[in-house]
């Protein structure tokens, strides 16, 4: 009797111990597997940084282990930061991105507010249409747009990007903002309406402050789209003073058959830096905005 109860008491204890051990194994196994994945996934950025620290002589010597710089140097970075063309590309990317973000966010915040809170005949259809237009890729439209950009006289003009990038950013930004605005309780704007606020006032005083996380997420999206865009600038721009960073690096630093790999990789590091910094600080907002549909329900 007492032996039986002892045994009965013993089994759960051993079970929990093995469960605990199982969990520890699962934890360390997960860490190990993740570490393998991280190493594999970070090979290209690592190689990018390593190459950017090599001198041209070291790269063209083609000897020894290429996976670390034998005599690290900043000459590539110094070259780029004093190279007017590169600075020009960088500056073009900066102002195009700034304008794109500004225009896209203004358009999508206004539209999202109108579609979620004010509603008018056909607003539901428009909301669906916005989502569908997000699914139309740039590579489907770049040829007709080439003609349209041509009619507007904007071929080889950086301003064409300010016109076109919002079409890539606005649909998804509006979609994110619709999600955030819908989650704001109706009572809030009803109360404001009773207090005599107008709709624009409600938007500026209540919705924008309350939906700030969503605005940050949408802003990051617009920034990412505009900073990394490659197809439109490649198709519509061709002279050095008009190019943006992505296209500028490829068309300027690859000279015929001569690849200035050290400088190309240094330029890539500099070009990748702004998004990496933005994500390092604001990643959580962006992921929350992106996955808001996945976490609910």
């Amino acid at each position: 009797m007492s032996g039986a109860s002892l045994a009965a008491g013993g089994i759960p204890r051993r079970a929990t111990a093995s469960l605990h051990r199982q969990r520890v194994w699962a934890l360390w196994g997960s860490y190990a597997a993740l570490a393998v994945f991280v190493v594999i996934f970070l090979v290209p950025p690592f190689y990018m940084i390593v190459t950017s620290l090599k001198s041209s002589a070291e790269i063209s010597a083609q000897q020894g282990n290429p996976w670390y710089p034998h005599s690290p140097t900043l000459e590539n970075f110094i070259y780029l930061l004093t190279y007017n063309n590169f600075l020009r590309y960088f500056w073009n990317s900066v102002w195009v991105t700034a304008l794109t973000v500004l225009v896209s966010m203004t358009i999508s915040i206004m539209a999202a507010f109108s579609l979620t809170r004010m509603g008018f005949w056909g607003s539901q259809t428009i909301a669906t249409g916005v989502f569908l237009s997000y699914l139309i890729p740039a590579s489907l439209l770049f040829i007709p747009l080439f003609q349209i950009v041509g009619w507007l006289g904007l071929i080889n003009n950086t301003w064409s990007l300010v016109l076109l990038f919002p079409t890539l950013a606005v649909p998804f930004c509006t979609w994110i903002m619709i999600g955030y605005f819908s989650s704001i309780p109706k009572e809030l704007d009803e109360a404001a309406l009773i207090d005599g606020a107008s709709y624009p006032q409600i938007l500026i005083r209540i919705f924008i402050p309350v939906a700030l996380p969503g605005i940050i997420a949408a802003t990051i999206f617009a920034f990412t789209i505009s900073w990394g865009a490659f197809l439109y600038p490649l198709a519509y721009l061709y002279t050095g003073d008009q190019l943006t960073l992505t296209v500028g690096i490829i068309s300027d630093l690859i000279r015929g058959d001569v690849f200035l790999w050290g400088k190309i990789m240094a330029a890539c590091v500099l070009g990748a830096l702004p998004p990496v910094i933005v994500y390092a600080f604001l990643m959580d907002y962006y992921i929350a905005g992106l996955t808001s549909g996945a976490t609910k329900g």
Binding site: M48, W67, S114, L135, G228
Partner: protein
Amino acid sequence: MADGSTFVAGSNSFAPLTRTRPGSVQRFLRRRSTTAVLLAMPLMLLIGTLVIYPAIYSLYLAMLNKRMTAFVGLGNFAFLLKRNTFQLVIFQSCLFAVTSVILKALLGFILAHLMHNIPGKSQRIWRGLLLIPWVIPLALSTLSWWWLFDPAYSGFNWLLNKFGFASIPFLGVGWNARIAVITVNVWFGTPFFMIMYLAALKSVPEQLYEAASIDGAGAWQKLFFVTLPMMRNIISITVLFSLIVTFADFDIVRILTAGGPQDMTHLFATYAFAVGIQSGDVPLGAAVSLFMFPILAVAAYFVLRGVTRRNQEMAA
């Protein structure tokens, strides 16, 4: 007493209100809807002129001859379908999109599970590290892949030689180049799947797993009967969405191989660029792009259906 007085007050004010309602309400509605339309107008203008109009215009454009002087009907489409290169493009686009999406979905799923196993504090750092491929602009990271794939003296071939293997011409031979292009796409896109799946995993209620354990379910049974059904919708939305984006991909192939060797890596987008912009046959290029449309439309229909269903579930 209090109830009665408010009721009386309510009914008193009710009568005059009904008489004045049409005018004031109409005016109110008019003002409200005017503002609403005005606020949504920039969006409608932008989408209308720079998305919908070009889409329709490209249909017309694709039916012109090269000089855009004569209407040729479906001639461009028929011409393309008969061309050997274009048949390759169709095959490659499907191969590229389907293989990449399957691999991304699998790896993303595995990574999300691994990430879900480790405690929340360290998750942030690991997630951040794994997101780096997705954060770097694709055009720039593809350049570093190009350099890694370099035939003469580069990272991968040096390692191969070190371990006694011969150098591989990664981008010089058709199938090698195809695999290389898919690899880069999987590398770039897996983090997106990981964060979508991780968010979905976190939303599965812990009680379901506890209930399954009590019923004696093993790890695999939990995966197939709890996790996967709960994530079904997110998985299908993410996969279809990624299918659209991957199908329409341009950057990787354009930079890595520019369609070569012997057109064996061209996708719709890069081939449209080569034909329409580089060779200057705008109508033919438009026709190439339009071949993407049916596939994208089907995928978009199912994405939309998934999203609507999910919204309804969330509302219910």
